[in-house]
Symmetry: C2
Subunit: 172 residues, 2 copies
DNA sequence: AGTGAAAACCGTAGCGT
DNA sequence: ACGCTACGGTTTTCACT
């Protein structure tokens, strides 16, 4: 794993855009202590080099009628590499699966599934999940209350570079 | 739970903004078949009424040096309401915890924790998690491969309204 | 690398439909 | 409710430091 090529200003940019993805370039330049042109160049570089994957409106699940989130633990039937791969692809391809990870522990995969209600989850389970041949075992963990989700990533581990900047933390 | 007050155009707007949060209002208006003014009015309404929670740059975890994601299953020590509440607040307050849910099943909470590496997780665990008095049991599930994450929400369950629109699906 | 200016573009409000 | 027009601000490029 190569090391990271970000200075203190890049970090500020990432942090600011993570907090508000619709910041205008002018506002952003202001916050990071740069004039608009070099600021824009940096943003484009961060986009091109894959630091910024995309920009997204974060929707409220309940408001748009998605009242049920389920964490599904899945075990692969026969632990072949092909089965695991096929399962991962099948899960990732489903729009209801908003996240899917291969994990250590008792399960092989954890999928986060978002649906309108229990009825919809029942259909999802019986029609799309249980019909997958490579599935060995499924355990559904229903979300009772969502305390936190879609939170920004913690970027403080990069802060070692920030000491180089003599600007006040919040000059807005 | 009240019903949803979104027509086919609102749905298109949400869907488009979920796919690209930096769409200009002009581009958006174009895609949904509206002129800019009513389009902007709708977006503002969707923001005000809480359908759109925020806009965010989605960063690449590996690129910014966050190589390790862990799903932590946590049981509350004594199953009192206060303990559960205190634990939930403590977890939600940690920046490394990017998601935290109370769930049914064997665990009480599932927290998604993002850190640079194993060493950082060890410190997180010993210094911040295990020192919480209301924790009964912890099981750490390390993410081996991330197949999908930060995906857009599935909005197809609202598509019943879309039949009213006679525009081609993709006229860009 | 960063700065500053100029042109094209966009967001927004107001009025008319 | 949608659409048009117009003004002010923003994005973006380009030449210069």
């Amino acid at each position: 794993m190569p090391y990271i090529n970000l200075d203190a200003i890049d970090l500020k940019i990432l942090s600011a855009l993570q907090g508000d993805g619709r910041l205008t370039n002018n506002e952003l330049a202001d916050q990071v202590g740069l004039s608009p042109s070099p600021c824009l160049r940096r943003v484009r570089r961060l986009e091109r080099d894959g630091f910024i994957r995309t920009y997204r409106a974060v929707l409220d699940r309940e408001s748009v009628g998605l009242g049920l989130t389920v964490f599904v633990e899945i075990k692969v039937e026969k632990h072949s590499r092909d089965n695991a791969r096929a399962l991962q692809d099948a899960l990732s391809g489903m729009p209801e699966v908003v996240a899917c990870h291969m994990v250590s522990g008792t399960a092989d995969f954890v999928a986060e599934i978002v649906v309108p209600n229990l009825k919809a989850y029942e259909r999802m389970l019986t029609e799309k999940l249980l019909t997958l041949p490579m599935i060995g075992d499924i355990r559904s963990n229903f979300v009772l209350t969502r305390a936190k989700s879609d939170a920004p990533l913690p970027l403080s581990h990069l802060k070692r570079d920030v000491r180089a900047v003599g600007v006040a933390p919040d000059c807005e």
